[in-house]
């Protein structure tokens, strides 16, 4: 199968169940909402060592936010509800509450839920005020910039992490140009995010290593510099760079739609602009319950 002359491998992306929540961050201006959101999603590219994966889902107009100010929706993923609760508490407490003029609300009201303002309220040192509006409890914490308003809880949803595709290109410059467009297309899809820096993975990993203390190591079959060195290399002579786009989503449809939008955007570059192949990362289908077959998605 080819799309605009780009060969699509007959393979699939293997994804895993995760837990996720959505946070809405507002600020005096969109710039300050971004400051808080960017701080929250910092060092959240992979659960392997960051504790969670997080990225901005979309900007929100003042009409769409609870307090009528410009806002940002962020989705945070973790391997368990406990891990998610721990990360949310640390990140909202240290990144959002410390950002001037910020406020924090749940973007996913469901059960089960994890603590948001319910835990952060203690920062108020007894001067915090609880308010229940339309059945939702909020905490007002007096802070130096004025008042930090934070919803009490945020819901936890079953989600999927690890949807992906690989872009095999002539050079890293070609791969990057196409992947940037691919990520822009994915960002238009709701309920899905790309948590790696700028949405693109430059050093994709495989499970395990020759070193026992390493959980993951370089994805050697896709390293162009190992062509001719490793017997299971999967990059042909024309390939000089491979980049990966990893997608986390709140449901299968969000990941499927994101992969389709991303691959189509990448394939628009075609072989004449250095994009030769699209593949996907998997573990033989034995580890993850979700399989996203490239050719089915693009059919």
């Amino acid at each position: 199968m080819k799309v605009n002359g780009v060969y699509i491998d007959d393979t699939f992306a293997e994804a895993f169940p995760m837990k996720a929540t959505r946070i809405i961050i507002t600020g005096m201006t969109l710039k300050w909402a971004y400051r808080a959101a960017n701080s929250l999603i910092g060092f959240a590219s992979s659960v392997i060592a960051c504790g969670c994966e997080a990225d901005i889902e979309c900007e929100l107009d003042p009409e769409e936010t609870p307090d009528g100010r410009p806002g940002i929706a962020v989705i945070v993923f973790a391997m368990s509800t406990k891990q998610l609760a721990d990360q949310i508490l640390k990140r909202v407490g240290q990144s959002v509450m410390t950002t001037a003029t910020s406020a924090c609300f749940s973007g996913l009201r469901c059960e089960p839920s994890i603590k948001l303002g319910q835990a952060l309220r203690f920062f108020g040192d007894g001067y915090q005020i609880s308010k229940k509006l339309n059945g939702v409890r909020y905490w007002r914490i007096p802070v130096m910039h004025g008042e930090f308003v934070c919803e009490e809880k945020t819901g936890v949803a079953d989600a999927i992490g690890g949807g992906n595709f690989l872009v095999l290109a002539k050079t890293s410059r070609h791969a990057l140009a196409a992947c940037e467009k691919g990520v822009l297309a994915i960002r238009k899809v709701p309920r899905a995010v790309t948590s790696f820096p700028a949405g693109i993975v430059g050093s994709g990993s495989k499970v395990g290593s020759k070193y026992k203390f390493m959980k993951a190591s370089t994805n050697h079959p896709y390293c162009p510099t190992l062509k001719g060195r490793v017997p299971d290399t999967d990059v042909g002579p024309e390939i000089g760079s491979v980049l990966e786009i990893v997608i986390d989503g709140l449901d299968e449809e969000a990941i499927r739609e994101s992969m389709r939008a991303g691959i189509e955007a990448v394939c628009r570059f075609g072989p004449e602009k250095g994009i030769y192949r699209i593949s996907a990362g998997n573990y033989g289908g034995k580890l993850g319950p979700y399989h996203f077959h490239l050719r089915q998605i693009l059919a």
Binding site: P66, D67, G68, A103, L133
Partner: protein, 282 residues
């Protein structure tokens, strides 16, 4: 499920309590059955049919409204007391005035009065919504006799004025008055939120321990046990006004209100965790 229309034949000579006439109490019953329901008129025992014309509103209209039943009181009078006592679901529509104790101990559902209501509206309320299109009497959202706390959930929305002691001992919930309020607004309050858009009487928030009173007009007098934090942008007000504007079409104008207000903290003689926010940008 069923719904009934009760049309008052003439204004009763004495006060009549209607605690048994709630949507859940009439659910599934015929108009004839409800007409025989006993009521107490002074020292006399009467039936619903003695005071009201009882009419079954039919299945079709109820089906459109869903599973819950509805009571419509037509030509209502201020002599009809305790309407909607302890109701937990459904809807009561009152055309005319309602007497005292409207929605006493209410746990859910919706009461709408197209007229005024008497004293103690939403007394001991634990949920639901009461809307009154004209004025209400004293002690709205207050405590049941012998109780130490007033309403602890739900919303009371008054388009006219409220009497004295509105929100007295209030624990939780929301009281919104589009007109003015009398003396001792939010006295001994323990939580919840009161919004008054008109003028208020003396001693606002006297003895309040917690809770928030939002005033669009500066009160004539604030107790000496309140201290000011000065003019501030209270970010919470943005949330409050948006939620109110979103929930009630009649309060949609609140979405244009800003957060700039003077914050008065008090009552310092009762812990000082309450606040009176006087809007400066409304």
């Amino acid at each position: 499920m069923s719904g009934i229309v009760l049309t008052l034949k003439k204004r009763p000579s004495q006060f009549v309590d209607l605690p048994g006439l709630t949507p859940e109490a009439i659910a599934g019953r015929s108009a004839q059955d409800i007409a025989g329901e006993p009521l107490q008129l002074g020292r006399r025992k009467v039936t619903v049919a003695d005071l009201f014309e009882v009419e079954d509103r039919g299945e079709r209209e109820i089906a459109v409204r869903g599973e819950e039943s509805e009571i419509t009181l037509r030509r209502s009078s201020d002599r009809l007391c305790a309407i909607g006592t302890s109701m937990s679901e459904g809807r009561i529509e009152v055309h005319g005035s309602a007497g005292d104790y409207l929605g006493r101990g209410m746990r859910g559902g919706h009461i709408r009065v197209r007229g005024s209501a008497g004293h103690c509206v939403g007394q001991g309320m634990q949920g639901g919504l009461i809307e009154v299109s004209k004025d209400i009497g004293d002690f709205a959202g207050g405590a049941l006799l012998g109780a130490t706390e007033g309403m602890n959930e739900g919303t009371i929305l008054v388009s006219g004025n409220a009497g004295h002691r509105a929100g007295d001992r209030m624990r939780r919930g929301m009281l919104v008055v589009k007109g003015g309020a009398g003396d001792y607004l939010g006295s001994r309050m323990k939580g919840g939120t009161i919004v008054v858009l008109g003028p208020t009487g003396r001693s606002v928030g006297l003895g309040m321990r917690r809770g928030t009173i939002v005033l669009a007009e500066r009160p004539v007098e604030v107790p000496a046990t309140f201290h000011t934090s000065g003019k501030l942008k209270m970010e919470f007000l943005r949330l409050l006004f948006r939620e109110l504007g979103r929930s009630f079409r009649s309060l949609a104008f609140l979405r244009t209100y800003g957060p700039l207000s003077e914050r008065l903290i008090g009552d310092l003689s009762a812990g000082g965790k309450g606040e009176v926010l006087v809007l400066l940008s409304s």
